[in-house]
């Protein structure tokens, strides 16, 4: 992660949200969201991720009976003391399902934040805003000839990018995204993920996701694998090796880590892989146990993150299934590394 000046744009302190009195959907959350970064909120379904996100731009006020306690400060101002409309203009939002306004054209959808709010702009200014916003979401080239068509004619992925453009047009300080790709196919999802990395330059992003690979992008991953590795074996098991290692690192290694993988050696039969993270590592006495089933090192941490304790066990068995070997070590500079082998195609 680059060294930017770490300035908090959003701070949450002891935030509790409840739908029914006495039952907190979100319990005592404290967090600092830094400017210029993508921060993701990860967790299982129903754990209150979206609830927390929606509290940030006071979307809960639509529904009676929801109580929010604690401090949410946006740009050092308490959002509960600000005008709701002002808060929502500072914090744009993109929803799970694309929701362009069905009666408006693509052009009008992008500019809707201005027209609906009665902000007067000249035609040229509007054209510029629309063009810039659509270029930001990489939609301009696809729709520049059909700007006057209804937004609902676009595909799901395009609609979602249109919604992102609509939120960006208002130049928010922070963009809240509530599982923005959950209703999209993998290709559309990829495009939006790529987009997020681009958008990081323009706006701070808080994203709710339960898609690990989406979160993984936001951790710094260094993939040093050559493209011409020719591994033989069971496809889904080999996939499980890499995925479980990755999820394990994301879940347990800590924050702001670098994860890397490389193939450091090969001989006649095997490729030798090194997978490492720069996180907190594990205690030496626990190293042997991490491949055992249902073992979770550092109980407190895994309880917070969930998980069955099966991930690394699966990795080990998958490697052994292919007649390989795997070993875990603590790195000297901190973090954990895994050495393992996979069979080469002859």
């Amino acid at each position: 992660m680059e060294n930017t000046i770490k300035e908090n744009i959003l701070t949450l302190k002891d935030v509790c949200i409840s739908y029914t009195p006495g039952q907190n959907a979100v319990n005592m959350v404290t967090a600092d969201i830094q400017k210029g970064l993508i921060t993701s909120i990860i967790g299982p379904s129903g754990c209150g991720k979206s609830t927390l996100l929606r509290a940030i731009n006071r979307m809960h006020e639509l529904y009676p009976g929801i109580t929010i306690t604690g401090d949410i400060k946006l740009n050092n101002k308490d959002i509960l003391k600000m005008n709701a409309i002002e808060v929502r203009r500072m914090a744009g939002m993109v929803f799970q399902r694309p929701n362009p306004f069905p009666t408006l054209s693509i052009y009008d959808n992008v500019i809707a934040g201005y027209t609906l709010n009665g902000i007067k702009k000249t035609k040229d200014e509007k054209d510029e805003i629309v063009e810039n916003s659509l270029k930001n979401v990489a939609l301009w080239d696809e729709v520049k000839d059909v700007l006057q068509k209804k937004g609902t004619f676009l595909s799901g992925g395009q609609q979602q990018r249109l919604c992102i453009a609509r939120a960006l047009a208002l130049k928010p300080d922070i963009l809240l995204m509530d599982e923005p790709t959950s209703a999209l196919d993998p290709i559309a999802t990829n495009r939006i993920e790529e987009l997020l990395v681009e958008l990081k330059k323009e706006v701070t992003i808080v994203i709710v996701t339960h898609n690990m690979s989406q979160a993984a992008r936001i951790v710094d991953i260094q993939n040093n694998l050559e493209n011409n590795l020719d591994i033989v074996g069971n496809k889904s098991l080999i996939f499980a090796i890499f995925r479980n290692l990755l999820e394990n690192a994301i879940n347990y290694a800590g924050e702001e880590i670098t994860i890397g993988i490389k193939c450091y050696n090969e001989d006649a039969d095997y490729y030798y892989f090194l997978f490492y993270d720069t996180g907190c590592g594990v205690k030496p006495e626990c190293l042997e146990k991490i491949f055992d089933r249902f073992v979770r090192i550092d109980q407190g941490r895994s309880r917070r993150n969930g998980g069955t304790g099966l991930g690394l066990s699966i990795v080990k068995h998958a490697v052994m299934f292919h007649n390989g070997a795997i070993e875990a070590r603590n790195r000297k500079t901190g973090g954990l590394e895994f050495y393992f082998t996979l069979k080469k195609r002859k």
Partner: protein
């Protein structure tokens, strides 16, 4: 016979029965249309029918004797119907739509559930009772039967239909639409007026058309409020006629009875057309 063939036969016979009864529902409509068409088309194609007002009994009698088509038409009725229905629609649309929005937006409030209940009751009130109330509230204070009184009665009949169709359509609009607007920092009333209402336009417009086609055929409330008129009447404070009222009058006049069919045919075609248009709009503008 094995169980399998028995089942097949049972299945087939039930299927035939169901189709038959489903088809039976179409019979009354076609019977009515056919009957009215056969007996009423002759007067309807005479150009006078739409521009002249009701003939007197005597004129009709003379025409009947000489075997000619009855002179005159239902222009007075058409004018009255259009006047009263238009006035009623203009009054009922804003009230109905705003009430519908209220019911949809405050689903859970106690006041809303009371209003919703009363709306349902209003829909169930017999139309003749609406006429009586219109008579007491409008005709007596104004000291005259009038198109105004007629349209007041029709408004009351239209309101529940418009309210409920607006409410249902607004409820169908996904909440995400509202959230999308709110997330852009738009105020609540603006979202309702500029985002929700346009999205609901198709449903609301269909509801209005159906309400119009419903009251266009109403006779009972008009008998006691608009009374009727033998000539074309544009003054809304004077008694006025309506196509449905004319049908009743033609029926009561032995010499004019053949006009019953042509007036009915006209009314039927008008209402059916409105219904078909409403269906098409509902299809085209349905909420995505």
């Amino acid at each position: 016979m094995n169980t399998f063939t028995y089942r097949k036969i049972k299945n087939a016979s039930l299927y035939v029965l169901v189709c038959l009864f489903a088809g039976l529902t179409a019979v009354p409509l076609f019977a009515i249309l056919g009957q009215v068409l056969i007996k009423g088309w002759r007067e309807l194609i005479v150009s006078d029918f739409f521009v002249k007002s009701t003939p007197t009994t005597l004129d009709a009698l003379i025409a009947l004797r000489s075997g000619e088509i009855i002179p005159g038409g239902i222009a007075n009725g058409i004018v009255g119907t259009i006047l009263m229905v238009l006035m009623a629609t203009f009054i009922a649309i804003p009230i109905g739509i705003f009430a519908g929005i209220y019911l949809a937006e405050y689903k859970t409030s106690k006041y809303a559930s009371i209003i919703r209940f009363l709306t349902d009751l209003l829909q169930g009130v017999p139309s003749i009772v609406v006429g009586v109330v219109g008579f007491i509230w409008v005709v007596i204070p104004l000291k005259s039967y009038s198109a105004l009184a007629g349209s007041a009665a029709l408004t009351v009949m239209m309101l529940p239909l418009i309210i409920r169709s607006t409410e249902e359509t607004m409820k169908m609009i996904p909440n995400t639409m509202k959230e999308a607007g709110l997330a852009l920092g738009t105020s609540y009333p603006i979202i309702i007026l500029r985002v929700m209402l346009p999205s609901a336009f198709g449903g609301i417009f269909t509801g209005v058309l159906l309400a119009v086609s419903r009251v266009i055929g109403e006779t009972a409330p008009l008998m006691l409020t608009a009374l009727g008129s033998t000539m074309i009447q544009w003054d809304v404070t004077r008694p006025n006629s309506a196509v449905s009222l004319l049908i009743w009058e033609f029926y009561n006049d032995p010499n004019l009875q053949s006009l019953v069919w042509s007036a009915s045919l006209f009314l039927l075609i008008f209402v059916l057309t409105l219904n078909i248009i409403a269906k098409q709009i509902a299809k085209k503008w349905r909420i995505q």
